[in-house]
Symmetry: C2
Subunit: 413 residues, 2 copies
Amino acid sequence: MDKQIILFPMTKLNHHYQKLGSNYIFSEIEKRVEALKIKLPRSSILNLGVGDVTTPLYPPVIEALSKATQEMGDKKTFRGYGPSEGYAFLREAIAKTDYSNLISPEEIFISDGANTDIANLQEIFSVDNRVAIPDPAYPVYVETNVMAGRTRPLLKTGRYGGITYLPCTEENGMQPQPPYAHVDLIYLCSPNNPTGLAMDKELLTRWVNYAKAHEAVILFDGAYEAFITSDAPRSIYEIEGAKEVAIEIRSFSKSAGFTGLRCSYTVVPFELKLRDAGAIHSLHSLWKRRVETKSNGVSYPIQRAAAALYTPLGQKAMRETVQSYIERAQFLRDGLKQLGYTVYGGIDSPYVWCKTPPKVTSWEFFDFLLENAQIVTIPGIGFGQEGDGYIRLSGFAEKSVIDETLIRFKNLA
Amino acid sequence: MDKQIILFPMTKLNHHYQKLGSNYIFSEIEKRVEALKIKLPRSSILNLGVGDVTTPLYPPVIEALSKATQEMGDKKTFRGYGPSEGYAFLREAIAKTDYSNLISPEEIFISDGANTDIANLQEIFSVDNRVAIPDPAYPVYVETNVMAGRTRPLLKTGRYGGITYLPCTEENGMQPQPPYAHVDLIYLCSPNNPTGLAMDKELLTRWVNYAKAHEAVILFDGAYEAFITSDAPRSIYEIEGAKEVAIEIRSFSKSAGFTGLRCSYTVVPFELKLRDAGAIHSLHSLWKRRVETKSNGVSYPIQRAAAALYTPLGQKAMRETVQSYIERAQFLRDGLKQLGYTVYGGIDSPYVWCKTPPKVTSWEFFDFLLENAQIVTIPGIGFGQEGDGYIRLSGFAEKSVIDETLIRFKNLA
C-alpha cells in the first residue's frame, strides 16, 4: 500500500487555495461585535458595516414575481429550462433602456449576481496573464485570481506576488492610474467599492487607450453605476472604442434591492476580440461557451422580476430608492466633514470612505468607534493595504441609524 | 507599436477552450427539425429529445414562493444577502428528510443547479489530476475538464487525450468499472444519464474501495436519484466509508420540476480529506471557501420553494409526479421491447436508451425516426463515443406523446 502511494501525483488539490490569506475580516468584525454585546449588553449597536440594502422590493417587482409564480403552477404557462444566457424579454429591456440599443440583446448575459460573473470571467483568460487590480478594491478580484493560479504566494506586505496593484491614494485622487508596465487583464470598479468614487471620462479614456495599446482587456465592474449623481460615465461604453477592450458587469442588487433575489448582467461586446497564438478570437464566443456549459440560466420568476424594473413604475421606484440611499450617504458624508474628518465618496456612491485620525490604523479606529460609540464599520485594510488608513461606512443603513451615528460621532469629539 | 507587441505574452486567452469540439449536438438537432418542418409543414412532431419536465410546480411550492415573495415586499420581513452556503431552514430539512441526519446541515451546500456544481467542483482539484469519466455521460463532465486544462487535444477517435474513459457497454452491463490504472478524480452518475441505469451496491462498493486505495475522490451525480424504483442505492453514502471519498450532487430539477426555478444541493462530508504535499486537507473547507468567494447564494424565495418540498404535501406531490414520469418511461420501454428493440433504462430513470438496428449509427437512426415518424430523439454520440449505437428517448414527454410515439414506431416496422 505504501509503495503504491508513492506513485500517486503529489498534488491532488488546487494548491493555489493554500496561498489565500484567511478571509477573516467579516468573521473578525462579528467576533468583536459579539464581545462588545457581552461587555455592554444594553448598548444599541449601529451597523454601518455590511453593504446590504434595507428597502424592500418595489411593488412592480413583487407583482411580476407573483405573476411568474402563478405561471409556473399552471400547465399552460409553466416553463422549464430557459436559455443559459437569459430570456430575450429581459435582455431586450436592458439593451433598450440601459444602453439605448447601442448594445444588442445578444451581447448581454443574465446571471445570478455580479459577484458570480466577476469571479468567473477570469476563467476565459490565460493563467499566464498579468492582472492589474486597484487597491483598495472588492476582495473577490484578488482572491479569484489567487485561486486560479495567477499569483505567487502572499508576501509579508500583505500583497500577492504577481499582481500589479493599482494604488488609490490621496496623491492620485484615490483613482487607479494606468501603469507604465504591461498588464493583460484590468479590473476597474466605478463608482469604486470601498472608496465611493467614480472615475471621470478623462481617466476612463486613458484606461481604454492603455488597453488598446497593450491588447489588454478591462473588466469594468459597474455594480454601483445607478448611484452616480455627477457627470462621471455610468458605462464604460460611453468612452469611444471601449467596446473593443471592455466587459461591463452590472447588478440589480443595490439599485433594486435584489441582494436576496439574485440577478445581474454582463455585457461582452461582439467587437471585443483578442489576438492569441496568431489567431483572432471573439471573447463573446468564449464567454457564451462558458455560460452554456456551466450554467442553466437564472430562475424564470427572478428574470421576470428584473424585467419589471424596466417598466415606467419600476424605473420610478428604482430612481426614488437610489436617491434616498444617496441622500443618506451625502448626509453622513457632510456630517463627518463638519466634524473635521476627511471623507471620500458619498456623492456617486452609497459608501463613505473616512480617513482615520493620524497614525491610527483602520482596525484601531474600528475598535475605537465600536467601543466608544457602538458603531460598526469596516476597517479599510479589508479591501487592501492602501485601505489601512480608512474605514468604510454604508449609506444603506436606515435614516434614523445615520442620524444617530452622527450624534455619537459628535459626542466622541 | 509592432515592436511593443512582441513583448506581450503569446497566450492571452484560456487556450484550453480551443480544444473543445463544437457543442453542436442540440443546434444540429434543431437544424434538422427545422428542415423537416419546411419539408413537411403539416407534420406533427413528437419531441422525446430534451430531458425537460412538463409537470408544473406543485401547489405547496407555489404557495411557498408566493409567501416568500410577499415577505420580500414588506419592510419587516424583507431579506437581503443570505448565507452563500444556503439558508439553515433548507439545509436542515434536507439533512433530516434526505439523509436521516446522517449528514449534517453544515455539510450541505445549496446551489442554483446540479449543472453549476458539477461544473465547478473540479476547480478545487489540481489541474494535474487524472480524471475518469463514464462513456456515455452528461457532456459537462468532459467539457469542464477540457476547459480547466486537464486534457490533451481532441483525438481523431472523438476522445480527449488525458481522460480515462470508463466505457459502458453491453459487455459490462452498461456500467462503469473501476480501471486498473490510477485516477484521482472520478465522475459517477447513478441513475446514469443517458443510459438510465442505476449502479448497484456491489459496484458502488468497488468504486468506494478503489477510491480509498487510490486516494481518489468520487463526484457522485445523483440528479436522478428520485427515479430509482429498484433496490439500487439512492445515495452513495449508503456505501460504508463513502463519506471519506465522495461528494454527492442532487437536484430538484427533475423530481420537483425546478428546471426553470433553479435549485440543487451538494454534500461535501467533513470526513472527506486528502493528503496533498505532506498535509491533510479538508475538501469541505476548500469548497466552502470557493462558495463563499464566488457566490452570494441562491435566491431566498427559491430556497423557500425548495423547503416546501420537505413538507408532507410537498413529499407527496413529488412522489406522485416522479411516479407518473417513471410510468411513462416504463410504458415506452416496454412498448419498444415488444417491437423487438433492445432497450435499457426506463426502470430507475425517466430515460430510455434504445439500441439502433445493426450497423446503423445514432445520427442515421435519429434521421430515420425524424423523417419517417417525425419523432425527435437524441443521438447517443452526443454523450460519448460508446453512445454511437444508441438513441435516448425522454419519458418526461406527455403521456399522449408517448402513446403516439409507440404507434408511429409500430407503423415503421
